[in-house]
């Protein structure tokens, strides 16, 4: 037999380290790419062969995730975080600057294969941006001097471990701590409690606590656990949702970085209550930088008897935790898509019902909870449900972590009892001239100052924690456009209203933002938004139009001042369409352009149409022209 090629050997080794399990496919592809910089057809075929699955399955997965590349890619892969908060901090200028320095176009790979520079959805560093990823590792607080140093290291092929540590420094910025972040927790306290008092007593405490899921939807925690507990079957799973993809939120990053023990303890507690033996953390790919530290924490917990076999010396208490990395797909935060991804597949949301509590990971009963939720369960097990329920409001017990960013003096993490007013948060973070707040991320709502008296709670303004401030001098529409592009990029493409609707919405917002929109386009956005909300298969498509719809209500002037006075304009951009002719003729003078929004449109039109006189071009013909291919 011929000796396997070096490529095959590399891949064989990676697959072996994952025990040849096809549920590890995504993890395997990530590691293969780490080694080879992209997933060539030969590499994907070898992975398929080693796993004994069809090559199409591997391709399907590789084509789905933003961070997997099926085309040749640079040895250095630099992706600028492109959330609106990064834009506020000037990321676009920095992006162009770095591209110029390196001699590479945006989104392109340099001819020598050294480097690719592009953009990606929010990387969760909004309080310390402008941010980027280099080969998956987070870069923070970018500025030109730092980019100079980065460019210099790319040119001399310096390996990442030799780059200065401060490039990769991620700080926690905890600005306000309450019962979750502020009180000491003795590792093992929750596990001792469940061993002493039994799972049922802990469930009773959770019921009393009133705790609701902190990922955004606010489902009653105890109901979820009980539903999974009651589901038939001996094999059950615990999954921690650390995908944190909503732009503007980063509280789960801080919890995983500073309070990982608490989160792992909550998961282990859940495992004991359900009788599950295996847990998974689904960690978003953007947080890859903390993987080694998290693995070390897990190892330490095993050594001190808080994880693994015979936890706290009880031979009936066996539970372990594995960490899976995502690869750039916001939809994988949706619990059923997350489970698909955990199984090594592409992340398309499942039909629900059945729900994960009865048919989850590998079709077994599974509890999926947010990072913050698990952390709180550990605290409640140790301190009691009544203790937790003493904070908050009638329907929203306890506290909430807010990720505050945008135009404020003190961005970072703020823990408040539920019921805090928006105004209070703005005061505390030093946002003195806030024109508006994007609550709960692009999927949430845009609120104007008249709403600053409202409360953050499930009764009033529900949130997963994202809180982005827009100061007076900002254009709200910059945010709306950024969000519309985000959803078009992140739609998984499974269902029609979201797959097509998010792109139609993006184009409509672009049209208005560039001054080509009319009142009819605003009406069109409302109708499109209604269809997407009503018709989409999962929460992504159902919430994708929210920011546009809310801002149309809350900031009508921001939209209207961009409108043309005409009742209708074609979506077709005549100047862009002339681009090809310009390229072919090598012309770029004003006469070769269709200059927008000028009174002399008709004069220019006449010049493009030599046979006709401007004064004879009726208004309707402009629309006709717009429709011409």
């Amino acid at each position: 037999m011929a000796e396997p090629s070096p490529l095959a050997q590399t891949i064989d080794e990676i697959v072996r380290s994952h025990h040849g399990l096809s549920t590890r496919l995504l993890q395997i592809l990530r590691e293969v790419q780490d080694k080879l910089s992209w997933l060539s057809p030969e590499a994907m075929d070898r992975v398929a062969e080693d796993l004994g699955i069809s090559p199409d399955k591997v391709r399907r997965v590789a084509e789905f995730y933003s961070f997997l590349y099926t085309q040749p890619h640079g040895s250095y892969d630099i992706l600028f975080s492109d959330n609106i908060t990064d834009r506020m901090l000037g990321n676009r200028e920095l992006l162009r600057y770095l591209c110029d320095r390196l001699g590479v176009g945006i989104g392109e790979t340099r001819a020598d294969g050294r480097v690719t520079v592009g953009v990606t959805s929010c990387t969760g560093m909004c309080d310390q941006g402008p941010a980027a990823l280099v080969n998956g590792y987070a870069l923070t607080r970018l500025d030109k001097p730092r980019l100079d140093q980065i460019a210099e290291r790319v040119e001399r092929l310096a390996p990442l471990p030799e780059w200065p540590r401060e490039f990769f420094e991620v700080v926690s910025n905890i600005r306000r701590a309450d019962i979750l972040l502020g009180r000491h927790f003795a590792d093992g306290a929750a596990l001792r409690a469940v061993l002493e008092r039994g799972g049922r007593a802990i469930v009773d405490e959770l019921i009393e606590s009133g705790l609701r899921g902190q990922g955004g939807a606010g489902f009653k925690l105890a109901l979820k656990w009980m539903s999974c507990l009651d589901a038939p079957g001996d094999v059950k799973y615990v999954v921690c949702n650390a995908d944190e993809g909503e732009p503007g939120t980063f509280k789960d990053r801080v919890l995983m970085q500073e309070y990982a023990d608490l989160v792992f303890e909550g998961m282990t507690l859940c495992g004991r209550v359900l009788g599950a033996r295996q847990g998974f953390v689904y960690l978003r790919g953007e947080y890859r930088y903390m993987l080694d530290a998290l693995k070390a924490t897990l190892q330490r917990r095993r050594q001190v008897g808080l994880l693994g076999a015979a936890i706290l010396g009880d031979p009936t208490f066996n539970f372990d935790i594995d960490i899976h990395l995502g690869a750039g797909a916001y939809v994988c935060g949706e619990e059923s898509a997350l489970i698909e991804s955990l199984e090594g597949k592409h992340g398309t949301p499942r039909i629900r019902p059945p729900f994960p509590t009865t048919h989850g990971y590998l079709n077994k009963p599974t509890v999926v909870n947010n990072v913050e939720t698990f952390a709180i369960t550990a605290k409640i097990a140790a301190e009691g449900g009544a203790w937790y329920a003493s904070r908050g409001t009638a329907e929203s017990k306890g506290t909430k972590l807010l990720s505050v960013s945008g135009d404020c003096a003190r961005p970072g993490i703020y823990e408040y009892p539920f019921g805090v007013a928006v105004r209070q948060v703005l005061e505390d973070c030093g946002a003195r001239d806030a024109q508006g707040v994007q609550m709960a991320g692009p999927a949430g709502r845009t609120i104007a100052p008249s709403h600053y008296g409202r409360q953050i709670s499930f009764e009033d303004l529900a949130t997963g924690g994202s809180f982005m401030v827009f100061a007076k001098h900002r254009d709200i529409l910059d945010g709306m456009r950024n969000f519309a592009h985000f959803f078009a990029h992140e739609s998984c493409g499974f269902c029609t209203p979201c797959r097509v609707g998010t792109s139609l919405m993006r184009d409509l917002v672009d049209k208005v933002h560039t001054g080509r929109g009319t009142r009819a386009d605003l009406e069109e956005m409302r109708r499109l938004g209604r269809i997407m909300k009503a018709g989409s298969h999962c929460g992504l498509g159902q919430t994708a139009p929210n920011s546009v719809l809310y801002s149309l209500d809350q900031f009508p002037e921001a939209w209207e001042r961009r409108l043309r006075s005409t009742a209708f304009e074609p979506a077709f951009d005549l100047d862009a369409a002339l681009g090809e002719a310009r390229r072919l003729s090598g012309r770029d003078d004003p006469e070769a352009h269709w200059l927008d929004a000028h009174d002399d449109d008709l004069v220019r039109l006449a010049k493009l149409l030599p046979a006709r006189d401007a004064s004879t071009v009726p208004d309707d013909d402009r629309n006709l022209l717009g429709a011409m291919p």
């Binding site: 992140e490 029609t496 797959r499 792109s503 009503a534």
Partner: protein
């Protein structure tokens, strides 16, 4: 024996058996709910979203919602027609549908459902995606311009034919149908026109070669009867203008 359970659909009682979806129960009762990715021979897929109904006040896909006793289901309302129409319009602008030139015109379920929901124009700006036509197979041709990503061919080839010829790749508006071979060409696969996958396409994407325009305009499947009467093209025998092999 459990006693007969029922829900109401647009005011009419519909009985159902445990495990049936609203769509399946409605079909059994002879009530049409427009649909494209649903095919009674396959598990519900829930992607086209044309079969939306309002179930106890919440809009849900009827193919993916279990029937339950006492449900109030609405289907033929102004609101739902408007949403369905919008979804059909999205399908038309997403691909390149030149109906007058298409061999399936008149026997195309996409077109027939569009008529059914009252769609008169595509409304949205066209995306004009660059898609290709693959005529490499001796007996079939694929015009990717017309694919609506219902994944019926994907499911049929994988689950019935055991060949796994088709797949959908990519995300968002870039999602597209592919042929599972390194060349991406149908001719390089074991696909055969006797496959189930050759009989399920609700659009003019997968076509059989060496024949065409067999029924004159006026006598094509959906010229004779609208889709709510004639049924799915995949369920109508070829001899009557459908796709099902006789």
């Amino acid at each position: 024996m459990s006693q007969e359970q029922s829900f109401t659909l647009d005011g009419q009682p519909v009985s159902f058996e445990d495990g049936q979806s609203i769509m399946v129960a409605a079909r059994a009762a002879g009530i049409y709910i427009p649909h494209l990715c649903f095919n009674p021979e396959f598990k519900a897929h829930g992607s086209c979203r044309v079969c939306l109904t309002k179930v106890n006040g919440r809009i849900q896909a009827s193919c993916a919602t279990p029937a339950a006793a006492g449900q109030t289901v609405e289907s033929e309302t102004e609101e739902l027609r408007d949403i369905r129409c919008g979804i059909l319009q999205m399908m038309f602008v997403e691909g390149n549908h030149i109906c007058p030139a298409c061999e399936k015109s008149g026997a195309c379920q996409l077109q027939a459902v569009a008529y059914y929901v009252g769609m008169l124009e595509p409304h949205y700006p066209h995306f004009y995606p660059r898609r290709t036509v693959d005529a490499s197979h001796p007996d079939a041709v694929i015009d990717f311009n017309r694919c609506i990503l219902c994944e019926l061919c994907v499911r049929a080839s994988r689950d019935v034919d055991g060949k796994n010829v088709f797949a959908v790749h990519g995300r968002g508006i870039h999602a597209h149908l592919v042929i599972n071979t390194p060349s991406g060409r149908l001719g390089a696969t074991t696909f055969s026109i006797t496959d189930k996958a050759a009989q399920v396409c609700p659009t003019g994407t997968i076509l059989i070669k060496h024949r065409g325009y067999e029924s004159p305009i006026g006598r094509r499947l959906y010229d004779r009867q609208p889709v709510d009467v004639a049924g799915d093209v995949a369920q109508v025998p070829e001899s009557q203008g459908g796709r099902r092999h006789d």
